[in-house]
């Protein structure tokens, strides 16, 4: 079997890439190893309306499981800061529907799909790649001019093509989450909890859906005293008022690459989404970036295909465009991440006193200078600010 473009993985990155490539007229095939696209989610399912609509995507109604007006942030002692406004509005998705919906749009554009079909390895053949796929119909060899690694944090496509996609323990949140019914919380907001005993180097979240909520957290191993699972159990026990009547209906785990992206291309290969570690390093959101990466990658791929040049040098334009769009911002957010990881609980309390919701929104947009000015007035934080936030 021969195609122009073979996409490994039917997550948000893979299906958006497939829709783009198919609608540009290239023969496009997607292989997804799971027997059902969209399960088991490794995700809290939150996206901002602004972020997703900016990419030209109007999410279908049935993919939306919750509508959010803003975020409530909680300090370790329970002080709250509320974030609201147009840019904070968002959705909690039902990912198994969302991902199938994205796949259906790709299929309408002409992409072919295989499920329960796992890519097992690939090798160079003539001017193309030959990818081995284990499927319900047995082993298949698919020849493709361009292979897209949309295979998430476990990306093997990158490794097969010689790109180092190994995540570092220090840049990789270890996450556990229950989806629970019976959670007693304001459903108009997502709820974010900070503290070194809550979620070391990360945060705990409650993302409400129509009749349930995603309740989970991410931590970094270096500061953790126990597993993410144990922190979730503790979090639930310590918030009796919220979880008195709550019971799990699903359990999820996963890794979030809170890193600065590295290489994204090789000869005839492009990595999109989590496979290239394209996640916002502060809040770990990766759906929007995954989709955006596929939009940029497909533009470059179209031109490269038409020119008949799929060399790494040619495809690197994708990396450069990504760098232009996100490079500076990601660098700043990494600095901020390092700073936040050093904070003690008393520092979080202090920040809860001096920061408004709008300030925190600016921070997530990598606007650091006002924050530095504000925090510099607090002697106890001066050292950390100088060390981590100033050049």
């Amino acid at each position: 079997m021969r195609v122009d473009c073979l996409i490994v993985g039917a997550g948000p990155a893979g299906s958006v890439m497939a829709e783009q490539m198919a609608s540009k007229g290239f023969t496009t095939m997607v292989v997804e190893k799971k027997q059902e696209i969209g399960i088991f989610k490794r995700c809290a399912e939150g996206v901002t309306k602004h972020g997703i609509e900016k990419l030209g995507i109007k999410i279908n109604e049935s993919s939306i499981a919750g509508r959010i007006r803003g975020a409530m942030l909680y300090s370790p002692s329970g002080k709250t800061v509320v974030m609201e406004g147009k840019e904070m509005e968002g959705f909690v998705l039902e990912r198994k529907i969302f991902e199938k919906w994205l796949a259906s749009k790709a299929i309408e554009s002409g992409a072919e799909y295989m499920v329960k079909a796992q890519a097992m390895g690939m090798q160079k053949k003539n001017q193309a790649w030959e990818v081995k796929v284990r499927s319900l119909e047995g082993m298949k060899e698919i020849e493709a001019k361009l292979v897209i690694g949309a295979d998430g944090v476990e990306s093997k496509v990158g490794r097969w093509a010689g790109i180092n996609t190994v995540n570092k323990l220090t840049d990789y949140h270890s996450c556990f989450q229950y989806e629970m019914a019976g959670v007693n919380i304001d459903k108009n907001y997502i709820h974010i909890f900070f503290g070194n005993d809550v979620a070391p180097c990360g945060y705990a979240w409650i993302f409400p859906k129509e009749f349930s909520a995603n309740v989970g957290l991410g931590i970094l191993e270096k500061k953790a005293k126990m597993k993410a699972f144990d922190y979730v159990r503790k979090f639930i026990e310590e918030h009796e008022n919220i979880f008195r009547n709550a019971q799990p209906i699903e359990a999820n785990a996963g890794g979030v690459p809170v890193a600065h992206f590295t290489e994204m291309t090789a000869d005839g290969v492009m990595l999109v989404g989590d496979a290239a570690q394209l996640v916002n390093p502060i809040h770990g959101g990766g759906i929007t970036r995954a989709i955006h990466s596929s939009l940029i990658a497909s533009e470059v791929a179209e031109n490269a295909m038409n020119e008949g040049d799929l060399s790494k040098e040619r495809l690197k334009e994708y990396e450069m465009k990504w760098e232009e769009e996100y490079g500076e911002k990601t660098k700043k957010l990494m600095k901020l991440r390092n700073f936040l990881e050093k904070l003690e609980d008393k520092d979080f309390e202090l920040l809860a006193d001096i920061l408004q919701g709008e300030d925190i929104f600016q921070l997530t947009q990598a606007k650091l200078s006002f924050f530095i000015k504000k925090v510099m007035t607090k002697p106890s934080l001066l050292g950390l600010v100088k060390k981590y936030l100033m050049d």
Partner: protein, 53 residues
């Protein structure tokens, strides 16, 4: 050599952290092959404690 126990959530997180590509996730479970050098990264990462030496 690392072993996996029944707690495994099939989350694939450990696959992405193994420096020598010794772990593969199939729909039926994870598989650790002989490339494992026993560095322990996957054990330290696993969100539920499903990996042991």
């Amino acid at each position: 050599m690392v072993k996996v126990n029944e707690k495994c959530m099939l989350c694939a997180g450990c696959v992405g952290i193994c420096p020598v590509d010794a772990i593969t996730l199939y729909e039926t479970g994870i598989y650790i092959d002989e490339k494992c050098i026993g560095c322990g990264a996957c054990i330290r990462f696993c969100p539920v404690g499903a990996l042991e030496e």
